[in-house]
């Protein structure tokens, strides 16, 4: 099949005949090239590489404190019609794991506990959430952390998005508020 197609163009054909088996080498180079990335990712997901990038430590949220970090130092990722998302990790202070019922993250101040944002999943030493990033988010927006207690109490604190995820702000500025 490779022969008949190349017949009209002699030089192209000779190039193909000469180099076709080098495709093998190119294909083998792909996993070799991605291997460092693969092992770095494996380390990241095992939690051996710390909480993530651009970590903000000891954010005081009422009587509690937590560390916040973006999973990767990169722009938000597209997830089809659902829009763009940014993965954040958080770790609660060790002494407060028992008192905290839930931790939420949201861009902009939540008006109530019911609209507190996305909930953090997993063990309180290393929780993860996927924060939706509306394309019209202002670059000077604040990321709000809401902590809910088992007694129904609510505590809030905020950090600048620019500090929590500089890459997201850069992406927003480049997007210029385009949907």
């Amino acid at each position: 099949m490779s022969q008949s197609q190349a017949l009209p163009n002699r030089s192209l054909k000779q190039l193909w005949l000469k180099w076709r088996f080098h495709l093998n080498i190119l294909l083998i180079l792909i996993p070799l090239g991605f291997m460092p990335k693969y092992f770095a990712d494996a380390k990241l997901f095992r939690g051996d590489a710390g909480l993530g990038a651009n970590q903000i430590s000891d954010i005081q949220v009422g009587p509690y404190s937590l560390d916040l970090a973006e999973l990767r130092d990169e722009a938000p990722r597209a997830d089809g019609p659902a829009g763009h998302f940014k993965a954040f990790n958080a770790a609660l202070c060790k002494a407060c794991t028992n008192d905290v019922k839930a931790v939420y993250l949201r861009i902009g101040k939540p008006r109530s506990l019911r609209a507190a944002g996305t909930i953090f999943f997993g063990a309180s030493y290393r929780m993860i959430t996927n924060l939706p990033i509306p394309p019209r988010t202002r670059p000077d927006a604040q990321v709000w952390v809401t902590i809910e207690g088992w007694d129904g109490s609510m505590h809030q604190a905020s950090v600048p998005l620019a500090k929590a995820s500089p890459a997201t702000v850069a992406w927003l500025e480049k997007q210029g508020g385009k949907p």
Partner: protein, 399 residues
């Protein structure tokens, strides 16, 4: 040059067959080889690492329940958070526990199912995950939807199916080839040709299964990347705020334990076999548990509300559509992990044969097709108008 159209057609088929895996034969070879390894990767780890074996302390020892294992883990490491427990397929494997330590590291622990003792921690290099990632997506990371490495590998299902079809077309009366002895002493071309044909006829079913399931992996990626779903699996809503009790003193609301969850699930779904159980991942999440049903290629799951003791959601074999029975069977059919060690060993053996097919195909190619093609090229240089190359190359396929 006066040839019957039938004959020249079979030559064309033969040429197509000869060129299918080329010029990417080494890529195909490595994909087959890593696939063969991935089938038995769990067993290789079992052989290499005593931590993953479920050794019985004595003959009368009984397996612990999930809650007993959890209690043992909490006793050994009070600060550690346990996220899920799972019994791999085969009672000779230790339980695996996904845990998180206070420093944020999240390894998998190997736990003895009889004593609850932590036997070891998953090593930094995860052989099973690595072989699967190399075989499945060529290590290309998933950033936006499916990795392009996934497409690269699963696309091989198409030439694989084509080589099966063309191979059967050019191998005249292939059904008579099952017991043809391999001829030695006639040179390596004849030898490898015989090996290739003999291995080929015995692997017809396996090549068909692997090729078709690979094409399904390709279709699955295309569907997913276009946000098309054919799943009838219910999306489990989070537990309603009202169902989670408030406590006056701020201590966590009481939740049922794992054994109680398993008991409730067993009452609601009598034939539910539980081999994995996930603890709630938030205060508004369920205890999620499941295992294989009577049809070993598919899993059944149930979500238990830890506050109200209600089975809020379940996904059983009976809930599947006919289409899902087909599509969900594709992955286990590809990997061979649906019938314990015997099936895995069959898959491994035919994976080895398949790797050998690629290799012997290449040897035959270098010994014949390359020479024939070179000869054909020379001719076409002399007579540029000659029709498609290879028209009178030797075709030795009718032994």
């Amino acid at each position: 040059m006066a040839k019957s159209p039938k004959k020249s057609k079979s030559k064309l088929w033969f040429l197509v067959h000869s060129w299918l895996a080329l010029p990417i034969w080494f890529f195909v070879l490595i994909v087959c080889f890593t696939g063969m390894l991935a089938v038995v990767s769990q067993e290789i780890v079992w052989l290499a690492n005593p931590d993953v074996r479920a050794s019985k302390p004595d003959d009368s020892a009984e397996r612990l329940s999930f809650q007993q294992v959890l209690d043992a883990l909490h006793k050994a490491e009070p600060d550690m958070a346990v996220r899920s427990l799972s019994q791999p397929d085969g009672s000779h494997f230790a339980l695996t526990a996904s845990v998180t330590y206070p420093d944020g590291t999240s390894p998998t622990l190997y736990v003895n199912p009889y004593t609850g003792a932590v036997q070891g921690k998953s090593p930094d290099f995860n052989f099973e995950a690595f072989t699967r990632a190399l075989h499945g997506w060529w290590l290309v990371p998933f950033t936006n939807g499916f990795s392009w490495g996934w497409y690269l590998v699963s696309l091989l299902g198409l030439p694989m199916l084509a080589s099966l079809v063309t191979g059967l077309v050019v191998y005249k009366k292939f059904w008579k080839g099952f017991f043809k002895p391999v001829r030695t002493g006639h040179g390596s071309r004849i030898f490898w040709g015989d090996v290739h044909r003999l291995a080929g006829v015995w692997s017809i079913w396996f090549i068909a299964v692997i090729a078709i399931t690979s094409i399904w992996f390709l279709i699955r990626a295309i569907l997913s990347d276009n946000h098309i779903t054919i799943s009838t699996e219910p999306i489990v809503p989070v537990i309603a705020r009202e169902e989670v009790p408030l406590t006056q003193d701020g201590s966590p609301a009481p939740r049922i334990d794992l054994d109680e969850a398993a008991r409730i699930a067993g009452l609601a779904i009598p034939n539910l076999d539980i081999s994995f159980i996930s603890l709630p991942s938030t205060a508004y999440s369920h205890i999620s548990l499941g295992g294989r049903g009577w049809y070993p290629l598919m899993f059944q799951t149930a979500e238990i509300n830890p506050y109200t003791r209600v089975v809020d959601s379940q996904f059983l074999l009976a809930d599947r559509s006919a289409l899902e029975f087909v599509t969900e069977s594709m992955r286990p059919l590809h990997t061979g992990d649906f019938g314990g060690l015997p099936i895995k060993l069959i898959w491994f053996f035919f994976g080895l044969i398949l790797t050998l097919m690629v290799f012997s195909g290449l040897l035959i190619w270098t010994k014949r097709t390359a020479q024939a093609t070179a000869a054909a090229l020379k001719r076409s240089e002399r007579a540029p108008l000659a029709h498609a190359a290879g028209s009178d190359q030797p075709v030795e396929i009718r032994q």
